[in-house]
Subunit: 469 residues, 2 copies
């Protein structure tokens, strides 16, 4: 490990990406949504410890098809700055690994393995649904994190997650400042839900959007083929409990007016049973079949989720599934149409085989940018994707103070949803279409994608204390 | 349309395929499983009508990711033999179009459109779940078909479907012989269920198998990432009402012993609740999570489907759906594990974006071979795929008398299922692996596959009689 300038003393370096089919980005030293210099930043700069400090990367929350591309971005950027960042560890199972001092030494993984992370879905280091609450209630956990960080001389914490994780990163940076432990906490956006504010989109979303658009198109062709004697109504249930971005992406399957999907159900629009059933009938009368993309978060005017309505099937059995079977029974009872439904569940967010190339590139770029922000002395910031134009699609990476994004959700704006509440507008299409652009196929062997497997070598523990989660 | 030799007088021509990555086939004039010369063949040969007769192609039953590749094979082969086959029509919505004289003129589609069918899923001409019963009970329908054939001088009938459709083709050829109407009925295999006998595999299966193997792998990585704090048990429900071939394909996701899927449920193995629950617990205890691939046809020792919804389709088959939620509740109640489940439904059989290249090539090859068999004067035969070796995978096309395949089902042999009934053996892997080999991506535009759209120009009706289905 060569000696480098003291941590944080070097300005951020703008990085020019390779230009691929018109897609490129540049990471400006100071974006218009720049990080604010806070006391936290100062705390990092006051670090006097000699030599490069270590870094910790953790994946958080629901995984995606491209979160490992972000990991690859972080790891490769750290490797390029060996003189300034020492070891890069990863929490096994995210923050849980950080709390339990169960750390993976990323330095023990080969360059080829790290490159392969760019086409490997899910969380290679393990992720966690483990939310830290506020500093008052969960102070012991935050302090434990600082204890582990101190034991391993962690000077940089890269937390790769959604809204909740950004909140954790923010609080950790606050505690670092309070206790005088210099730690640069950089959030890295990740969520299939696409509900983080400020950033134009969230890495992970573009790929699930592409999966849903392609699957909707394919299933629609299937249903159209056979509607005369078979299924009339097909329902695809997709993720998105609070925001309807993923459901909206189903709308990209339509190439012209009247194409499937004929109905999209958004969490943002109160479900109206009569209006829905009338639209189904109109569509079947006109087209012979009806394709519906329904968000799992579809709810009525009282905010009650459709999937929680306790409906029963024709035999009096309580419905076991979610929104799709509920809607299917509703349609069957009202109109008698033969139906089919699909629930893609984890298939949609892990479908690296049909990932968006734009998404995979952005996921990598935010990982790399996070390291550059840390090296520029930033703290409590998150790289964001900034759209420079939609046609042709151009974007770059900027950054924002984490507190501007933590615990905030970005819903699908009303202007993206057609007046009747059942479709997407041209504005939505302009926004969404570039995000599913391009393919980025993994390599295959014997018909199966060759996804990376990590060695996952454990970092020797330095603490005698045991923390149980 | 140039004049050619009388119908059926020309011997079948062996066709050498282009060699692609070790995959090739040769269509021998007389395979070891050759068509038998029957009275039906004679009836065709006695045709004295001058000039080329026309042909009818119909898609039947559940569509697949590659049935349109078969259509392309039929159409392109007919176009190469313009002097011997006149117009090639297609039934709109399969046999229903034939009965109602609702025919599409394939000659009005451009060469580019037909080429694009090779990468377009679902049934471009429309398919039907419409089973003709035996000649006694449905004689009027068979006679109507002969009436339509006569009106349009149809001398060749290519019926692209599964077991039921082969039965229809057989009966139609019998009626042709009985009534002295010369008609060559050639069955063309198609079914995701892979349950036709004689043929080594069925076009359509390889692609759904690849989809299920890849999806199982991807979802397993997702579950493994998060099992420490989230989902412990994941269930993917797949098609395969009677035969467990599709469920078996999920086993290809495992690269080494102990890999997911940990449990496969086959229709061929009676479901044993206690044994299943014990295996789930063992797996979670050992691995931290458990991934299950369950056939929709999973049934208990009494033959009762786990997910019998009570409804029936047009063929009188019980309509299934809901094995996954049933299993999930069972696991939850017994062990309390957090679960997720997915039901891929039509997504699996229409997923042309992840089609098997082998499957797409075989689908095309059987279409082309069907035309060659017809031109060789064969009747009541079906082209079959013959495996010449597994490693490297080599295959060719032969043919079989339809009566050897009609109404018969090929189950997963016991030797393909592990002793405990929960997995696939090395023999199964040797059989299955080549069938998912190779990728055959469709072209994309704006992030979406560019699937063919037909003009679908209707053939002018010649009958004044109306037939209502």
């Amino acid at each position: 490990m060569g000696a480098g300038p003291p941590c944080g003393a070097h300005p951020a370096r703008g990085v020019k990406s390779r230009q691929t089919a018109g897609i490129g980005y540049a990471s400006p030293p100071n974006g218009p949504v720049g990080a604010r210099k806070t006391d936290l930043t100062m705390a990092v700069r006051r670090s006097t410890k000699p030599g490069p400090r270590n870094a910790l990367y953790a994946q958080s929350g629901g995984v995606t098809a491209v979160i490992n591309a972000t990991a690859a971005g972080v790891i490769e950027a750290c490797r390029r700055h060996k003189g300034r960042i020492g070891h890069l560890y990863a929490g096994r199972d995210g923050i849980v690994g950080a709390l339990t001092e169960d750390l993976i030494d990323t330095g023990r993984e080969s360059a080829a393995t790290i490159r392969a992370l760019r086409h490997t879905p899910a969380g290679a280091f393990g992720s966690a649904r483990y939310k830290l609450k506020d500093l008052e209630r969960d102070r012991a956990k935050y302090e434990r994190l600082i204890e582990v960080f101190r034991a391993h001389d962690i000077g940089y914490f890269f937390y790769n997650g959604g809204n909740d994780s950004m909140d954790t990163a923010l609080k950790l940076s606050q505690l670092g400042a309070q206790t005088g432990y210099p730690i640069a906490c950089i959030g890295i956006p990740k969520t299939v839900d696409n509900d983080l504010p400020v950033t134009d989109c969230c890495p992970g979303f573009g790929s699930v959007a592409k999966y849903v658009a392609v699957s909707t198109l394919e299933a629609s062709l299937d249903v159209a083929s056979m509607a005369r004697t078979s299924t009339r109504v097909f329902i695809l249930e997709v993720m998105g409990r609070h925001a309807g971005w993923i459901a909206a992406a189903g709308g990209l399957a339509a190439r012209k007016a009247g194409d499937a999907p004929h109905i999209i159900l958004f969490p943002e629009i109160a479900f109206d049973r009569e209006k829905f059933l009338a639209r189904v009938k109109e569509t079947v009368d006109r087209k012979g079949y009806c394709v519906i993309v329904a968000s799992e978060g579809t709810r009525d005017a009282d905010g009650k989720f459709l999937a929680d309505m306790g409906t029963r099937d024709a035999f009096g059995h309580v419905q076991l599934g979610g929104v799709a079977p509920t809607l299917a029974q509703m349609v069957k009872q009202a109109h008698g149409y033969k139906f089919h439904w699909a629930l893609a569940d984890y298939l949609q967010r892990s479908a690296r085989h049909i990932a968006s190339r734009v998404d995979a590139e952005q996921a990598y770029a935010v990982g790399r940018a996070a390291v550059e922000l840390a090296l520029a002395g930033k703290n409590a910031v998150m790289p964001v994707i900034r759209r420079k134009s939609s046609k042709p699609y151009r974007w770059d990476i900027s950054s924002v103070a984490i507190e501007a994004v933590a615990n905030k959700e970005k819903m699908v704006p009303r202007g993206f949803i057609t007046g009747d509440g059942f479709g997407i507008t041209a504005a939505a299409r302009r926004y969404l279409e570039p995000l599913i652009g391009g393919e980025a196929y993994p390599p295959y062997r014997n018909g199966i994608p060759q996804y990376a497997t990590l060695k996952g070598v454990r970092v020797r523990k330095r603490l005698s204390t045991v923390f149980t989660v």
